[in-house]
C-alpha cells in the first residue's frame, strides 16, 4: 500500500484520471470506485446516484454522481462498459465512500468492451514487473493533494 500525506493508494488497483480506481476480477468484470485522495478532497459524501444495472456506457460517461456539502461530480468510466451490479449499500449509506473507499465504498461492477483500448491509462505493474509506470494519473491527483496540504491535511475524512 502506497501512502502520501495520509492518502492510501493500493498498488493492486488500476487508476484513471478523474479520481477513479478499478479492480479487475477473475470473472472479467471490473469494480470501480473513487480514490482516497478524491474522497478526502470532496469531503463527506451526502448522496450517491448510480446508474441502473444493464445500462451500457460509452467511455467517459458517468457511472455515478456524488454530492458532498461542497462538491458535486460525476464518476466517469475509463472504457465502454455495461453495469452488471451496483452497490446498493452505498445508495443507503453514501458515507461508506469516506470510510472505506477501496472496500465497502465500491460503486459498481462493470463488464468492459475493451478495458485497455483507451490511451493514457496504466496498469499498476508493467509487464516486466516494474512499478515505474504505476498510475501516472494518480500521481497527478497526489500533486494536487500535496498542493492543497497547506489548507487541509490530506487524511481520510472519517
Amino acid at each position: 500500500m502506497s501512502e502520501y500525506r495520509g492518502c492510501q493508494l493500493p498498488e493492486d488497483l488500476y487508476y484513471d484520471l478523474d479520481y477513479v480506481w478499478l479492480r479487475p476480477g477473475s470473472d472479467g468484470l471490473f469494480t470501480i470506485g473513487v480514490t482516497d485522495p478524491a474522497q478526502t478532497m470532496g469531503g463527506r459524501i451526502l448522496s450517491v446516484h448510480i446508474k441502473k444495472t444493464g445500462k451500457t456506457l460509452l467511455a467517459g460517461r458517468h457511472v455515478a454522481t456524488l454530492e458532498s456539502g461542497k462538491w458535486v461530480g460525476g464518476i466517469p468510466v475509463p472504457f465502454a462498459a455495461t453495469i452488471v451490479e451496483r452497490n446498493e449499500a452505498l445508495l443507503a449509506d453514501p458515507h461508506l465512500i469516506n470510510v472505506d473507499p477501496y472496500g465497502a465504498g465500491w460503486i459498481a461492477r462493470l463488464r468492459p468492451e475493451d478495458p485497455f483500448r483507451r490511451a493514457g491509462r496504466r496498469r499498476p505493474h508493467s509487464s516486466n514487473g516494474s512499478t515505474a509506470t504505476t498510475s501516472s494519473a494518480c500521481a497527478a491527483r497526489i500533486r494536487t493533494c500535496a498542493a492543497s496540504a497547506g489548507r487541509r491535511n490530506c487524511s481520510r475524512s472519517m
Partner: protein, 141 residues
C-alpha cells in the same frame, strides 16, 4: 466598464435562465423547443468555459495548476459529460432521465459558479488588471 466578476456572474445568471427554459419545455412535452433551448444554453456555456480555460485559469495559475483551477477544470469536464447525457435524454424524449441529469447538473453548477465568483474572478481581475475589460467583453463575442 464591467470587471471580470460582474461580467461572468451576469453570464451565469443568463445561462441559468436558458437552462431553466429548456426544463420548462421538457415538462410541457415540447421536445423540439427543449432541444433548441438546450442547444442555446450549451453554446453559451461552452463560450463561457472557453474564455475561462483560455484566459482566466492561465492568468491565476502563472504556469502551474492550482487546487482551485484543478477542481474547476474537473467541473468543466463533468459538465460536458452531463451535456452529452442531456442531449441523449432529449433525443430519447425521456423526461425522467432529463430531470435526473439536469438536477445533478444544476447542483454542480451552483457550487461551481459560487467557487468561481468568490475565488477565481477576484484573482483573475487582480492578475489581468487593465486587460480585464477586454476579457469580459469576449463573453459577448
Amino acid at each position: 466598464m464591467q470587471d471580470i466578476g460582474e461580467a461572468f456572474a451576469h453570464d451565469h445568471r443568463r445561462l441559468e435562465q436558458a437552462l431553466a427554459a429548456s426544463g420548462s419545455h421538457v415538462q410541457a412535452g415540447h421536445w423540439e423547443a427543449a432541444a433548441a433551448a438546450f442547444a442555446g444554453f450549451r453554446d453559451g456555456i461552452e463560450r463561457h468555459m472557453a474564455v475561462e480555460e483560455q484566459v482566466l485559469f492561465p492568468a491565476v495559475e502563472k504556469g502551474a495548476e492550482t487546487p482551485l483551477t484543478a477542481i474547476l477544470r474537473k467541473g468543466h469536464r463533468d459538465l460536458r459529460v452531463f451535456f452529452d447525457e442531456i442531449d441523449d435524454a432529449l433525443s430519447a424524449r425521456d423526461a425522467e432521465e432529463y430531470g435526473r441529469i439536469a438536477a445533478s447538473m444544476r447542483a454542480l453548477l451552483e457550487r461551481h459558479d459560487e467557487k468561481e465568483e468568490s475565488e477565481l474572478y477576484p484573482a483573475a481581475q487582480t492578475q489581468l488588471g487593465a486587460d480585464a475589460a477586454a476579457v469580459a467583453a469576449r463573453l459577448a463575442d
